[in-house]
Symmetry: C2
Subunit: 338 residues, 2 copies
DNA sequence: AGTTGGCACTCGCACGCTCAGAGTGCCAGG
DNA sequence: CCTGGCACTCTGAGCGTGCGAGTGCCAACT
């Protein structure tokens, strides 16, 4: 279908356009890349590439710019992931290694990603679902009011109020606390439901209602994935977006405030490896002129959350993918150590 | 110094400029406001106002726009706070009343403020210092490792790891927990240091070291004001800033990412009542072309935190101040109820 | 003294025009 | 299949013009 040289031409167009932000013409191409052919030949190739929908011209007789489809081909076939250099890796490590707690890790990661890629960075907090329970604490705040505190192995703490159907004594509470912890401490969230299923049976009839309520609150908290938090940063980089400013930037800022949108965005990354969503490939239409580069990260072998960046479709894909991947790796390391 | 009419002229200029975003001339002024004098007179007044530094002209023979000093006079002397209408108040209340926990309250408040003012909203989480302790929980994670969880009356939870100098038994832990809570539960943070001072003496010599460490960690947590969190929203409203976009917006976005800057910004509001900082009155120079309107809010009579908005100096001050004040009040109510 | 109408003056800005340059498509010849 | 040539197109920068909004000042009026 597309000859080798035409692919090279496309690669050259993408690279030049990313660099200069201006439509690139046939003559400029032959000058900057030694393709070994004349501008006229390149023109023919360009016409072919345009027919196939990989490039387009903003107006007649201007240079060409890549389309989303063109970037897609570029990312899939024409460019690899540019690895970080040694000094860069060291800088990443040094920047992250000083973090004192989970919040700090996430904050630093966002900063780092934004700086490295000069784009908007998004980091999801390590998810609950794959984590294990470190401890469950129950506090009696009032006779019929209990506070449930869940502490995870990633250092995250969730708390919930529980209104009991009947007064619940301190001894019952201590009993429940002890039984609960002996069963679930150290276990994965996904295992918890089975482990506590028969727990109410161990209690007096009058307390069973309360125990059930506490347990269901606990289970709710565990599955409440939608409450996953995330942090974003580097929004100032949006100013480097383009010339037609307010129009482009506004929907992006709006999208960035919708945590739900962002979580869905990151959530799409399934398989291992860096995911790239280009332009209209993004479901949310405010992000139709942006690309999202994301990847999972985790403390062990498994991904517990995602991180990534949002930038203009005209971005340095190899470099960005390299940075995102490297940061994800080092964050994983840091989390594993702590 | 300035005659009554000249003040009226200034007021008219501010109002018109805020409405139209365009420099306002003498003729337009007399047409839109019935000042009862001719354009020529207004011109004289304008010349005087310009001499005093309240207004300026972007270029010769264009209309006038207010200076920071002009806005200052406007806010201090010429305009009141525009109260919210009944329906608006009800909408505010309804929007906030559905919140389920502290995070939710803050999230909703940010949203609300951003929508009402169409500006960038900043809400500080209720501060620890003025709050009272609801409960202190101690968990033994390992023989010489204790987790300290502090729960405040505003529903905020802080946790800290404590490495003990010596192993600490479950009974000692329970003892400390009980003693600690009986002394500090319900007390104000500021009172805690005195209340626990002599606590180590009640323990065996071998445990005293650990007790001291736990206590000092608790005290650290209490005073750790610098870790105050805040939430911002409505950044998309920055796109309505002005024509000379990227230049204005960039430093603002950068400033908004610096929590320290924002906390300092809000922190300046001391006395009760709405605080307004106009243009260059803001210490941070990225915010020199913005105004900050902020106010304290709290559950009881006292302010426990601040909230506010950041917008262009050309903003509707009375309306913004009214919205900020109203939101602060209702948030206070909501916090008091929960 | 304060106010007013008149008047000359000053710019900024929108509009229209031209022109150069970059880029294209196509074609005929290697 | 590549290449040089050629005619064509279109954008964007540069320039000149005129309009209009706005100003400052002054002399006259109340």
């Amino acid at each position: 279908m597309l000859s080798e040289r035409r692919l090279q031409v496309l690669r050259a167009i993408v690279q030049d356009y990313v660099g200069t932000e201006e439509p690139v013409g046939s003559k400029a191409l032959t000058e900057r890349h030694n393709l070994g052919v004349s501008p006229a030949t390149v023109r023919n190739d360009m016409a072919a590439l345009e027919d196939e929908g990989f490039i387009a011209q903003p107006h007649t007789s201007a240079g060409r710019i890549p389309t989303d489809k063109g970037y897609r081909l570029f990312v899939d076939k024409l460019a690899g992931v540019k690895p970080m250099t040694g000094p860069e890796r060291r800088a990443i490590h040094n920047f992250l290694v000083g973090a004192v707690d989970l919040d700090d890790v996430v904050t630093r990661t966002v900063r780092l990603l934004a700086q490295l890629t000069r784009q908007v960075a998004i980091v999801q907090y390590p998810s609950l679902t794959r984590s294990t329970v470190r401890h469950v604490e129950l506090l009696s705040l009032a006779p019929a009011r209990v506070m449930l505190v869940l502490i995870t192995d990633t250092g995250r703490v969730e708390q919930r109020m529980v209104d009991c159907p009947a007064p619940f004594g301190e001894t019952s509470l201590a009993d429940l606390r002890a039984r609960l912890n002996s069963r679930v401490a150290g276990r994965r969230f996904t295992d918890v439901p089975n482990l506590v299923e028969d727990l109410p049976e161990a209690f007096e009839a009058e307390d069973r209602g309360t125990v059930s309520v506490v347990l269901s609150t606990l289970l709710e908290t565990l599955v409440e994935e939608n409450e996953e938090r995330l942090m974003i940063g580097g929004t100032a980089n949006l100013t480097r977006f383009g010339h037609d400013f307010p129009l482009t930037i506004r929907p992006v800022l709006e999208a960035l405030e919708e945590q739900v949108v962002l979580l869905k965005l990151l959530g799409e990354a399934q398989d291992p490896g860096v995911m790239v969503r280009i332009g209209h490939e993004n479901a949310h239409e405010g992000l139709n002129s942006t690309s999202v580069v994301s990847v999972g990260y985790g403390s062990g072998g498994e991904a517990v959350a995602k991180l990534g960046v949002v930038g203009p479709t005209r971005m340095d894909y190899p470099g960005t993918m390299g940075a995102v991947r490297a940061v994800a790796r080092y964050v994983g390391q840091i989390l594993a150590e702590s």
